[in-house]
Symmetry: C2
DNA sequence: TAAAATTATGTTTTCAAAATCTTGTGAATA
DNA sequence: TATTCACAAGATTTTGAAAACATAATTTTA
């Protein structure tokens, strides 16, 4: 559904949202550990997110990543679009070039509703909402060992 | 959502269902053309489907692939399971090792419902149903040019 | 023997991951 | 105050593996 990069990106965003604030940044190593992601690969993803201004970063000693109030308002959809583009919005489940009413694949009508729900899922919840969820300690970003 | 192989497999099954019967087989070339798939890649997929008895094949002159009555009863889910395994049934949308109620990712509850619908979509419709849809000529296996 | 699937093997492309090099920043210090 | 140094992100390149696609040889059978 999402690319590996995108999965890591979402987890990283939620992780940073929970663990950091304006004056308390968090480094790439911790982010990688906290999300079960390979460090170098995660570093690259964080660059993308930062370049696209979905997250703030500070270089140098005591530097790291953090999210401010407005960052917390971003939806999962914004992350997905930044990393994977709009494939989720335009893809046909059977791989036709475009998904459309004019040239629908046999599964189109069934899939249409599912797609709607997927989009709702990623658009209605903001990073901030997920931060709260994680705080409640009933949700996880990695498997318990 | 599905692998490329799986997309091709589903299209091929629907195509053969529509175009063939017991005494009227259809060759790999036609299947590839009719589904916009690379011929040799599709050949391999057809082998898989045939080995797993989701479709019948006959070698030699006038040979080819065809589906009998019982083949038509297969659901899309059977194809998906044959090609992609059960990832659709077990995967976590954020890539956790396992999707479970005990160790849910932040999106688990939202995704749970979507997953249910996806499974319903692939289980409730049989290949035969899609054959009828295609016959109605309002659905397509490839893009109109 | 010719037509067709089957099998085996090879190549290319894409994606995930790792490594390395560059740039910017804060703090110590002379 | 200017210099330097270490720390941390940013950017680029390389490697690895898997998926997608292609070629060729083999078997089966009308
Ligand atoms: S055309 Fe296939 S999902 Fe819309
Ligand atoms: S744990 Fe992530 S979808 Fe169920």
């Amino acid at each position: 559904m999402f690319s590996k990069s995108c999965e890591y990106a979402i987890k990283a965003m939620i992780f940073v949202a929970q663990k950091s604030d304006e004056s308390n940044r968090i480094g790439i190593k911790e982010i990688a550990k906290g999300t079960d992601a390979p460090e170098h690969f995660m570093a690259k993803i964080m660059q993308d997110l930062s370049r696209r201004r979905l997250i703030h970063s500070v270089k140098g000693p005591n530097g790291g990543f953090y999210m401010d109030k407005s960052d917390l308002k971003n939806s999962i959809a914004n992350i997905v679009k930044a990393i994977d583009g709009d494939v989720i919005y335009t893809d046909c489940v059977l791989g036709l070039k475009v998904c459309s009413e004019k040239n629908p694949c046999p599964v189109h009508n069934e899939y249409k509703e599912i797609k709607k729900n997927i989009i709702k899922m990623i658009e209605k919840n903001s990073i901030g909402d997920f931060k709260d969820k994680l705080d409640s300690a009933r949700y996880f970003l990695k498997n318990n060992k």
